[in-house]
């Protein structure tokens, strides 16, 4: 394990960014989101959750797929280049890293999404343990240990230092390139990290959602959950906006659109939300015509369909972003709890 003083972090970032792109949490007019580093930006590693999850470092909100160009009546197609240089995402949390695993299940299984795969191949993740978990967090429910993030590099902030522990080959390579800035953590460092982990885990135990039960939520629950009359009540406050999906680290739906630039047509994909009334709107109309159906879809997908198709893996990681951001104060926890309550009543 290595370490660096917090005040030297700008040097560390500069060094990383010298050889590749570096994405990390940045405060722009009061909100923290992952963005590319430069000397001007205001890096913020203390805010626990970025508004958007860092998934768009691998699966951008919109990305060009190819461009059609026209000369007279001839049309040529220029595919967009795949990511071919390494980049570093610094400061992802354990839940965000788990979010990527969910995306991997979708995008890396056959047929492979080449754009995503290229980014995964070239991305190096430095994950940061959650210094002070908050009441909206429930990663523990999904078996995630936010004190011990598993990525290319794991990092902890303790006292005035940041501790840095490469876990993979990519992580080793990155660490190597930072020689000189990082110094050995030593025994005291190891000790500090252990204390930090313990402190984190102690807080996690006290979090209100940490003992949320997922009992009954699995691939087998399909019909029972789908047909529940509870949905009809639960969805009512939903405004059909896309906030939950756009801040979510695991939502992976996208739409493909064309944009006429005047000198060509760009075919690009952009995040879509199953909450939107025009989600998967086709010529025949919509396959989910009411907001109740759309609402149900999102939660059934996260908690039932996805585990059914992915060996029991839930596509929720308990980051709690939707809990914080839903304009109508709806969220996945409320859904889970409602079913629990109903079960209890039975």
């Amino acid at each position: 394990m290595l370490k660096i003083e917090k005040e030297k972090l700008p040097e560390l970032f500069a060094k990383i960014a010298a050889g590749q792109e570096l994405y990390l949490p940045v405060n722009i007019s009061g909100q923290v989101n992952f963005a590319a580093w430069d000397e001007e930006v205001q890096v913020d590693l203390t805010t626990l959750k970025s508004v958007k999850s860092p998934k768009d470092a691998f699966f951008p909100q919109s990305e060009n797929l190819y461009t059609c160009k026209r000369e007279g009546k001839k049309i040529t197609i220029e595919p967009e280049e795949l990511k071919n240089q390494s980049f570093v995402v610094f400061g992802m949390k354990a839940c965000d890293v788990q979010g990527l695993k969910v995306l991997d299940q979708v995008f890396l299984s056959d047929p492979v999404d080449t754009f995503y795969a290229a980014r995964r191949e070239h991305g190096v993740i430095v994950a940061l343990a959650c210094h002070e978990p908050e009441e909206t967090c429930f990663c523990k429910v999904f078996g995630i240990d936010c004190a011990e993030p598993a990525a290319d590099v794991a990092a902890w902030m303790a006292g005035e230092e940041l501790f840095f522990k490469p876990l993979t080959e990519k992580g080793e390579a990155l660490t190597k390139s930072l020689e000189g800035l990082l110094t050995p953590a030593g025994e005291a460092g190891e000790q500090a990290v252990e204390e930090e982990k313990a402190a984190i885990r102690a807080i996690v135990e006290k979090l209100p959602y940490s003992n949320l039960s997922l009992e009954g939520w699995n691939g087998d629950a399909l019909t029972e959950k789908f047909d529940s009359p509870l949905w009809e009540e639960l969805y009512k406050p939903c405004l059909a906006c896309g906030t939950c999906t756009f801040v979510c680290p695991t939502c992976q739906c996208y739409d493909i659109k064309d944009y006429n630039t005047g000198h060509g047509v760009q075919r690009y994909r952009c995040w879509d939300s199953c909450m939107y009334s025009d989600f998967t709107m086709m010529a025949h109309g919509n396959n989910r015509t009411s907001q109740m159906q759309r609402f149900r879809q999102r939660f059934m997908h996260k908690l039932v369909y996805f585990p059914a198709n992915n060996d029991g893996m839930y596509s929720c990681v308990g980051c709690g972003r939707c809990v914080e951001k839903c304009p109508a104060a709806l969220n996945i926890v409320k859904v889970i709890k409602s079913f629990q309550k109903q079960g209890g009543e039975k």
Partner: protein, 662 residues
């Protein structure tokens, strides 16, 4: 995707001289969707139109773009050509590469580039065009004439003779207009009243003509074929049905200090009056501002002397609402105010008069009973000076930029009449140019010079100054002799510029007919549609459209009548198919569109819709296509984009924007 044919017109050299037409064709041929492109000398010619028809048949075109002159010129021509070839006429779009391109640019490369872009925009639009079918609306077989001068009377007679009902609305108490104020008319020197009065009588006696005098148009709604007009009949204070026109009331009226409008204020009239002897209707009105009964509350002489009991002090303004198929504007003119022409001493001396005032002085019914005399002292003048172009042809804001057209001729008439009747009076006319185009006009002017000895001097008068001896010092320059003239005159007559009746602004606004910078009504086309206003169903007669003399006015009045008759003769009108329509799946039923519709064409109904499987009763906007005129106000007011306009749809306009900004 449409199969589009593009036709590029040379318009002789009008387009081809500045736009490389062949190059445009070559480039446009490559555009997606374009399956045919060609150029031709004159697309609007029969051969050109045949080319369009041939291409429609041979290439199976579904959309046409003609790159030519303004769509205001030949859009209809090409649409008809397409229709004859079996294509819906609304599948034709025009790229205006003449007025908006070749005529305003000099650089060939630049103009060619622009022509290509304009063509692309039209192609982009036509790609989204849909066949449209006009609806029908009814025609009310009645015409309204605003203004009862010679123009209005003639138009009314012509329309009525064709068998249609006509209403004349005249602001003053009698029809007759300016012509009734004239003494003689050029170039034949007929007595004006002698030729006008029979027409007035004919109009008033015509069974198809209703005359509203002392009345004004108050409100106009509706559209071609179906206007609804409110006419305010001002309180005359005299019962039209009872009055016998005996005139006793006017004789006995004790208030005789009101300036006579008819005599241009040169004499006074009684408070109860008919403007002139031959007035039609021969029913007086009470001028309430000058009437003692109305002002002071006592008098009532007229009521006492009226044996018919026609006087009605209680009478109130009355609003008559009537429907019309066509409206003819014939609001005429007035002479300009001369307050700003201090150098001619008009407001300083009674002996400086306008030509229209001279008409009244020369007229037997005028202030001097037809005797030529100075208004200051009643003496007969020895030396008379006429000054031309007072306020006409001015570049500054004191006068008018245009030539008033009639002054040269009436001045020659005045000079001739004076020399004829008073041979010992010297007459000098100061002119800038003498303009006498017209049948027997120049001959008329030459007679004034050659036979009547009128002294014409080229040179504008600089100054007229009243002298202590009561005469007027006229200072001018003789440009041909290069000398300055200072002469004393007894009377000076100013040929003041004429201007459209000031009321025309108000009327034009009501009719949504446009007005030019000089307040003349604009024609639909300066050359080809001179008697029609750009507003369908509104026609122009007389000086409201531009300066004219009597024969021209009468001719134009007839022309306007024919246009109106052509409209009234139809039972149905095809309505503009470019109307608004609402997408029922997007409509919120919020009423915003109805709030901005000037025609009340949008109503709401609750109807069941099937929105992708969801059946719901919804409040929905419905457009009445017969009422909708296609302005598009609703389309922008509608927040959800449910309202769209056929022929100018959101996507069509956006496609044009995209093509231009490419």
């Amino acid at each position: 995707m449409q199969r589009i044919g593009v036709f590029v017109c040379h318009c002789g050299s009008n387009i081809a001289a500045t736009v490389d037409v062949e190059k445009v064709v070559e480039i446009i041929r490559q555009e997606p969707g374009v399956v045919h492109a060609e150029d031709y000398q004159y697309m609007c010619s029969e051969v050109g139109q045949a080319k369009i028809a041939d291409a429609i048949h041979e290439k199976g075109l579904t959309g046409i773009v003609v790159c030519s002159c303004s769509p205001r010129m030949h859009e209809t021509t090409f649409r008809k050509a397409a229709e004859r070839a079996g294509l819906n006429p609304y599948m034709v779009e025009i790229a205006n590469i003449r007025e908006h391109c070749s005529w305003i640019h000099k650089d060939v490369e630049e103009a060619t580039k622009k022509a290509v872009i304009l063509a692309r925009a039209a192609i982009a639009k036509v790609n989204l065009n849909a066949p449209l079918k006009p609806g029908e609306s009814r025609v009310t077989k009645r015409a309204l004439i605003i203004g009862g001068g010679i123009a209005g009377i003639q138009t009314a007679l012509d329309i009525a003779d064709a068998g249609y009902e006509v209403d004349i609305v005249e602001k003053t108490p009698s029809i007759g207009g300016r012509m009734s104020q004239l003494d003689k008319t050029f170039p034949t020197l007929d007595c004006s009243a002698c030729i006008l009065t029979p027409k007035m009588v004919e109009a008033s006696a015509h069974e198809k003509i209703t005359i509203y005098t002392y009345s004004e148009v108050e409100k106009v709604t509706g559209f071609v074929g179906d206007f609804t007009v409110d006419i305010r009949k001002k309180a005359r204070s005299v019962d039209m049905d009872k009055c016998t026109g005996c005139g006793v009331c006017q004789e006995k009226c004790p208030s005789k200090k009101a300036p006579s409008e008819f005599n241009r204020g040169l004499s006074n009239r009684s408070a109860i009056y008919t403007p002139f002897a031959q007035a039609i209707p021969n029913v007086p009105v009470i001028d309430r501002e000058h009437c003692l009964k109305f002002q002071k509350g006592k008098c009532g002489v007229c009521a006492k002397v009226c044996q018919a009991g026609a006087i009605d002090y209680e009478q109130k303004d009355e609003i008559v609402t009537e429907k019309y198929g066509a409206i003819v504007v014939a609001t005429g003119f007035d002479v300009i105010k001369l307050d700003n022409y201090d150098e001619y001493a008009y407001s300083q001396s009674k002996d400086v008069i306008t030509s229209l005032e001279l008409e009244r002085i020369m007229n037997a019914a005028g202030p001097t009973k037809g005797h030529l005399e100075r208004l200051s002292d009643g003496k007969a003048p020895r030396e008379m000076v006429f000054i031309q172009c007072v306020g006409s042809r001015c570049a500054d804001d004191r006068g008018k930029s245009y030539c008033s057209k009639i002054c040269c001729m009436y001045t020659a008439k005045h000079a001739m009449l004076i020399r004829d009747k008073y041979p010992d009076v010297n007459v000098t006319v100061f002119y800038i140019d003498v303009r006498t185009p017209g049948k027997n006009f120049d001959e008329f002017y030459r007679r004034a010079v050659e036979d009547f000895g009128v002294n014409y001097i080229k040179g504008q008068v600089g100054k007229v100054a009243p002298q202590p001896n009561g005469r007027l010092l006229v200072q001018a320059s003789d440009l041909l002799d290069n000398r300055q003239i200072k002469m004393e005159a007894d009377m000076v007559v100013l040929a003041a510029a004429i201007e459209p009746n000031p009321d025309v602004r108000k009327i034009a606004t009501m009719l949504t007919a446009s007005i030019d910078t000089n307040n003349f009504l604009t024609e639909a086309h300066a050359k080809l549609r001179p008697v029609e206003s750009p507003t369908a169903g509104v026609f122009l007669s007389g000086v409201c459209q531009g300066p004219k003399d009597i024969p021209e006015t009468v001719a134009q009045a007839g022309a306007a009548a024919v246009k109106a008759i052509g409209l009234l003769a139809k039972d149905k009108l095809l309505t503009n198919p470019c109307t608004a329509h609402s997408d029922e799946l997007l409509c919120n039923g919020c009423s915003t569109c109805a709030n901005v519709c000037p025609y009340g064409a949008i109503t709401y109904e609750v109807r069941q819709v099937n929105d992708h499987g969801i059946r719901e009763d919804r409040r929905l906007a419905v457009v009445n296509e017969a009422l909708c005129q296609g302005c598009g106000a609703c389309t922008v007011a509608c927040p959800s984009g449910a309202m769209d306009l056929k022929g100018f749809s959101n996507r069509q306009i956006l496609a044009e924007v995209d093509a231009i900004c490419q």
